[in-house]
Symmetry: C2
Amino acid sequence: MESELNTGVLLFLPYRALENRVFAALAEAGFNDFTPAQARVMQRIAPDGTRLTELAEQAQVTKQTAGFLVDQLEKAGYVTRVPDPTDRRARLVRGAEKAWAAKEVADAVVAEVEREWEEHLGKRRMRQLREALILLREITDPWQT
Amino acid sequence: MESELNTGVLLFLPYRALENRVFAALAEAGFNDFTPAQARVMQRIAPDGTRLTELAEQAQVTKQTAGFLVDQLEKAGYVTRVPDPTDRRARLVRGAEKAWAAKEVADAVVAEVEREWEEHLGKRRMRQLREALILLREITDPWQT
DNA sequence: CAAATTAGTCAGAGAGCCTGACTAGTGTCA
DNA sequence: TGACACTAGTCAGGCTCTCTGACTAATTTG
């Protein structure tokens, strides 16, 4: 229900297709020891580390959930936690070597899929699509890094 | 990680923003007795009913999961199950009155959000966005009803 | 009609995510 | 400077979602 072709569904379909491709490629490359939920958190880690609370907000889960997921990522060797020099309560979650390696694989697949999309849409439409989405982000992304 | 602004993320952000708005509005209207997972299944129910297996495929979950979710929707009064006249093994999941009422609320919010987006992007860009997404669906939606 | 397939259920388990309650460190301001 | 409000993160417990595996009943195929 909820209408046959609203823009929401149209946005979701290609997103999911892309995500599926990325996960399949990661699994094939041997990165099969993390879950989609963990990946969603991992995506948000800044190059110089990010606080747990911030990660939780951006991934739209509670601090507890984020903490749990980071625990697992830490065990699997994807991230480390280091003390935040500016606040002794906090710790920074940092990506480890393994995480950057996985990111490289993921990025390659994303680039490949984007090429396929561009081929299907044509250069002009692809540009228009990205342009519209980037504009849309202004009113739909509360974090807007 | 997974790159700073790939098209996937750009697609996801407005999708999630829209979904959040719809859920908030439904909750406010008193439809707070179903979960996102249940909604994802409910969305796929055709006006004249849909089989469980088909629902499961489209929502990308197992038959068991779909069955579980439909059970709950049935208990909450959103759907009913009727025998499929063409196959005595199967039953059709049908939306009940309550589901159509919820759909009306949801549709109204979607329309409202789409108006807001159009206002932000301008008519031309909004049209281009939808055009590109509809084209993209051809290569990213395996069900393509 | 026997064999293979398909619709759906039952049982059990693990992951994900939440609420509530808590500890420890930080900022504010009288 | 010391009480108070706030923020970072953890602990405990529980509910929801989703899966795998095994099964029954009806349908299709050869």
